[in-house]
């Protein structure tokens, strides 16, 4: 079999041109998913377009009510970023549970999304934060909510010639809190059996707004709107959180595979949503109190 050709792009436009012109061209960022899939013969790239030497893609920056995280920012950089810790601590919380050091130093934020693995750990957090994906192509740029970025297992909304360049996370207002919960078979280096994230905003002791998302329980990361609807306008007491967690399970469509049975995934969905909600509510209350002082 012929090995692929390799091209280190220095600009997004250059990378996009090759991806458009060449049959079988793949973007490589961290490579932690792509290289394994190449070795297993699941994909046979004709050309590898390395985007990790494009300077703009590796930056974290604030501005205009959002935090912009470049596509080739590594999970390690996400974890170490002071801006991320202050402005989007949910992402740091998820990053701390991703891979181990050796993977975090290679794997990227963009790769975690663009590989479109249903268990991607950054997907539920980015979805509940209302993040937007920035997508570039030779013809121009477009944006897409991260919630709509996943199409199916290993299928994202990216079209030929398009590159995910960044995610933009809107800054959460006062009285909001968020949390991430994951279950895997080992504390490091595992795909999640199920993961979940919750974001809530409280106002005078009542849930004013809430977003809940789950991973690895459907072909794509899943936002569970019926569960959210049960909480909006209600006090976040144990009974309502339980009801929401139970409702979330009904929206999942898990499969049985080598990592877990569908039944166990349903059980985990309820437990992890409940756990994420409880922590998110606790953090939102802390925020309310801090601001009241």
């Amino acid at each position: 079999m012929k090995p692929p050709r390799y091209f280190a792009a220095s600009t997004v436009a250059e990378a996009s041109d090759i991806l458009t012109a060449e049959e079988g061209a793949y973007v490589i960022a961290g490579g932690t998913d792509l290289v394994v899939r190449m070795r297993d013969g699941l994909i046979r790239p004709a050309v590898l377009v390395d985007i990790q030497r494009i300077p703009d893609l590796a930056a974290v920056g604030g501005g205009d009510g959002h935090l912009r995280i470049g596509a080739t920012v590594t999970i390690a950089a996400l974890l170490e970023s002071v801006q991320v810790r202050h402005l989007a601590p949910l992402l740091a919380e998820a990053a701390a549970q991703m891979g181990a050091v050796q993977l975090r130093n290679l794997a990227t934020v963009g790769g975690n999304l663009a590989s479109a693995v249903p268990s991607a750990d950054l997907a539920p957090p980015l979805i509940v934060l209302g993040a937007v994906a920035r997508i570039a192509a030779a013809a121009g740029e477009r944006t897409l909510p991260v919630e709509e970025f996943f199409v199916g297992p290993h299928r994202s909304a990216l079209r030929r010639g398009e590159i995910l360049t960044a995610v933009e996370v809107p800054l959460s207002g006062e009285g909001s809190g968020a949390a991430f919960a994951k279950f895997g078979r080992r504390s490091a280096q595992v795909l999640a059996v199920v993961n979940a994230a919750a974001w809530v905003r409280l106002r005078q002791g009542v849930v004013e707004d809430v977003r809940i998302a789950l991973g690895a329980v459907a072909p794509t990361p899943l936002r569970v709107r019926a569960a959210e609807d049960l909480l909006r306008g209600r006090p976040p007491d144990p009974r309502h959180l339980d009801e929401a967690a139970t409702a979330a399970v009904r929206e999942t469509k898990p499969i049985s595979d080598m990592r877990a049975s569908a039944d166990f995934r349903r059980h985990l969905s309820r437990v992890l949503v409940r756990r994420a909600l409880e922590r998110a509510v606790g953090r939102a209350r802390e925020m309310e109190q801090t601001h009241a002082l």
Binding site: A8, V35, V101, L106
Partner: protein, 160 residues
Amino acid sequence: MPYEVSFRLNGEPVTTAVEADESLVWVLRERLGLLGTKIGCGTGDCGACTVLLDGRPVCGCLLLAVRVQGREVVTIEGLGQPGRLHPLQQAFVDHGALQCGFCGPGMLLSAAALLARDPHPREESVREAIAGNLCRCSGYVKIVEAILAAAQAMAGEGAG
């Protein structure tokens, strides 16, 4: 071999020709003759292939060699020298932290990167730093002890 790649390997400049789908660990072993770095799972799960890339531990099996152009790579061969072990290597010997030894090179490099960043780690930080390195023999207890002891020994050296 269509791609020529130049990088620093254990402090020395090196240039070698590679195919675009060859992993760094394979190139280190088969083209450059450095057999210290081990190939375990080949999927980024076991950490036996750990090398330092610009000072950070990475899985050498997941890193295509063609991508290390211009970068700094350290393997276990760069950690100590024959007859003059790195304090971590000495501590592993003193504590019986190696049994079959297959995880050793990766384990030592993960530990070296930790101590470079955090010279006085707590046990929890040590366990976190080696979470990506599987050891099938030791149960990790002696490895953790050895890394903590090496940290102390290195702190003593620095003070002296």
